[in-house]
């Protein structure tokens, strides 16, 4: 498998073809809109909170396969987490993405996000992968 194929793994393609929790809804507690200024990719992420716990997540956006699959992967795993648990996952994912492949994605903690590991090798794509996660971080900070 060459590097470009390793970037577009089945899990990523599956999330692009069947995006989870896509489509904004009424009644969100917090929301964040993030833009990647280099390519214009956009993600809007909504969270419904019950106290400190995320009970629902939804998103919409447009962009490359990396940014869109990453949003789907994240939105799928957020419901049920506390803000602190979500923050821990965001930090872990960021550390891997910024490591240029040195720090593997923690599959036990981050599930399908392991498929985004290939993006860490391409500096230009790290922002794509991080976009939704930055939106989640920003939304949680607004609580």
């Amino acid at each position: 498998m060459n590097e470009v194929e390793s970037l577009y793994q089945d899990i990523i393609v599956d999330h692009v073809k069947h995006p989870r929790r896509q489509g904004l809804r009424d009644g969100a507690t917090v929301e964040s809109h993030q833009l990647n200024p280099t390519c214009g990719d956009e993600i809007t992420l909504q969270l419904v909170l019950d106290g400190d716990r995320i009970v629902d997540a939804a998103w919409t956006g447009r962009g490359c396969m990396v940014s869109q699959s990453s949003a789907s992967i994240l939105a799928e795993q957020l419901p049920g987490l506390t803000a602190a648990e979500a923050g821990e996952r965001i930090e872990s994912f960021r550390a891997s993405m910024r490591s240029r492949g040195e720090i593997p994605v923690d599959e036990d903690l981050l599930g399908d996000a392991v498929a985004l590991e290939g993006a860490a090798k391409f500096v230009a794509r790290v922002k794509c992968a991080m976009l939704a996660w930055v939106a989640a971080e920003d939304a949680l900070a607004k609580r």
């Binding site: 393609v13 390519c39 962009g63 794509c128």
Partner: protein, 433 residues
């Protein structure tokens, strides 16, 4: 652009000689020979330009315009010699060329000089440049952000109204609407010579004459023309022009502002401080004549000298011949792209459209970043994104495009390599979907 039609293309032997001058073209990328099709973003540098900069730093490096020692005199002479070369290259006089960090800074220098005049600086000589409510600044929808945002901001600071010439659904500028947009209220018309997205060449002399007929100044973005087309700013008649060194075989960190002498003499400076004054007291300062008036602080000396060497290189090849070479590559590119299923070329593609050697495409359903990633895996370097032209991309219904851009060292084989890889990339992503 007379002369481009008749100039001879570069022969295969000439191309080989030129390519041998560019060390980076021998690089291998991801296991493939580098196919560099991102010249429009930044041009690679020939050995002669790299050597000129190194030679200056190793043998004559010194502070310019001050100091009486030998090196300082040599440095000053070389620095000003580069200005003379660049001025001649674009059809300007030496004192009409101001060094800047890049084209963006050059356009901001004009916008801020006019803004300062609007705030009353520059006295009676600058009064004719003052903007205020009721005045209009006109730009176009195809502009690079560098020739757009400074004018939006200037309008916001002065109370003037910002207007623009829109494009049609194809991305061609609606010049048929110009008569309704240009009026006695128009004080400045800012437009690009060549679109960095569509490659379309605008009729600068005609647009300038129409702007001047209503009393408006013209600010030209020459970033995509100065490197690629024979340029005669005096003949075009524009009031200001901006271009960047790194797009014309020079280093990063140097660009230039052209301003007609009467304007640079009358306008107040943008940046102030060292190296641009005659007398300073605790109450105020008097400024040097242009171009030094607009060159505050330590200058980018080695970069300017290297840009002079870049101009020598371009002159030796012949810009008219480079333009002919690029026009042929541009036609090859567009014809090839039109033949690929699912590819939409941004901008007008008709036979009568004068264009340089670049084309940006949108492939509906496949994001430019993904496309660019696949091409990179084949060693093909293209630009993906909005190319600092978000409004144009939005108007054409996309956020990002994939742009291939050629220059004097680009071979027909490289264009063909891109045209061959593109359907493979499209097939790769279609298969995933």
């Amino acid at each position: 652009m007379s002369g481009t039609a008749t100039a001879e293309m570069l022969s295969a032997a000439e191309l080989a000689t030129i390519r041998a001058d560019f060390p980076i073209l021998a690089e291998r990328v991801n296991g493939h020979e580098l196919v560099y099709l991102d010249w429009g973003a930044t041009a690679q540098r020939p050995r002669q330009v790299i050597d000129a900069e190194v030679d200056y730093v190793e043998h004559r490096n010194s502070a310019v315009h001050r100091g009486a020692h030998t090196l300082a005199a040599e440095a000053t002479e070389e620095f000003e010699g580069a200005r003379a070369k660049v001025a001649a290259f674009v059809g300007a006089d030496e004192d009409e060329i101001v060094w800047t960090s890049n084209a963006t800074e050059a356009l901001n220098a004009v916008a801020y000089a006019i803004g300062n005049a609007s705030a009353g600086r520059g006295g009676a000589a600058a009064a004719r440049y003052r903007l205020g409510p009721g005045d209009e600044i006109l730009a176009t929808e195809i502009e690079h952000h560098a020739n757009l945002i400074p004018w939006q901001e200037l309008a916001a600071r002065t109370g003037a109204t910002f207007r623009y010439v829109p494009v049609d659904d194809e991305g061609a500028l609606r010049l048929d609407l110009l008569d309704g947009l240009l009026s006695a209220r128009t004080r400045l018309f800012a437009f690009t010579h060549v679109s960095n997205v569509t490659g379309q060449v605008l009729p600068v002399a005609e647009l300038t004459a129409r702007a001047h007929a209503v009393g408006a100044l013209v600010a030209l973005d020459a970033c995509q023309s100065a490197p690629h087309l024979p340029l005669d700013l005096h003949a075009l008649g524009v009031d200001f022009a901006a271009f960047s060194g790194h797009k014309m075989l020079g280093p990063t960190g140097v660009g230039a502002l052209y301003g007609r002498r009467e304007h640079l003499t009358a306008l107040p400076p943008f940046l102030t401080g060292g190296s641009m004054i005659t007398t300073v007291t605790m109450e105020g300062a008097e400024f040097l004549p242009p171009p030094q008036r607009f060159e505050a602080g330590t200058q980018r000396v080695s970069q300017a000298i290297a840009l002079g060497a870049a101009v020598d290189y371009l002159d030796a090849v012949g810009v008219d011949r480079i333009a002919a070479h690029e026009a042929a590559l541009g036609r090859r590119l567009v014809e090839g792209l039109r033949a690929i299923d699912g590819v939409r070329i941004l901008g007008p593609v008709g036979d009568g459209v004068e264009r340089t050697g670049l084309a940006a495409i949108d492939v509906p359903g496949i994001h430019a970043h993904d496309l660019g990633q696949f091409l990179d895996s084949r060693g093909i370097a293209v630009r993906v994104g909005h190319h600092c032209a978000q409004p144009l991309h939005r108007r054409l219904g996309t956020t990002a495009s994939t742009r291939a851009s050629a220059y004097l060292a680009t071979t027909p084989d490289e264009v063909d390599a891109y045209l061959a890889a593109l359907p493979e990339a499209i097939e790769f992503f279609r298969r995933l979907a």
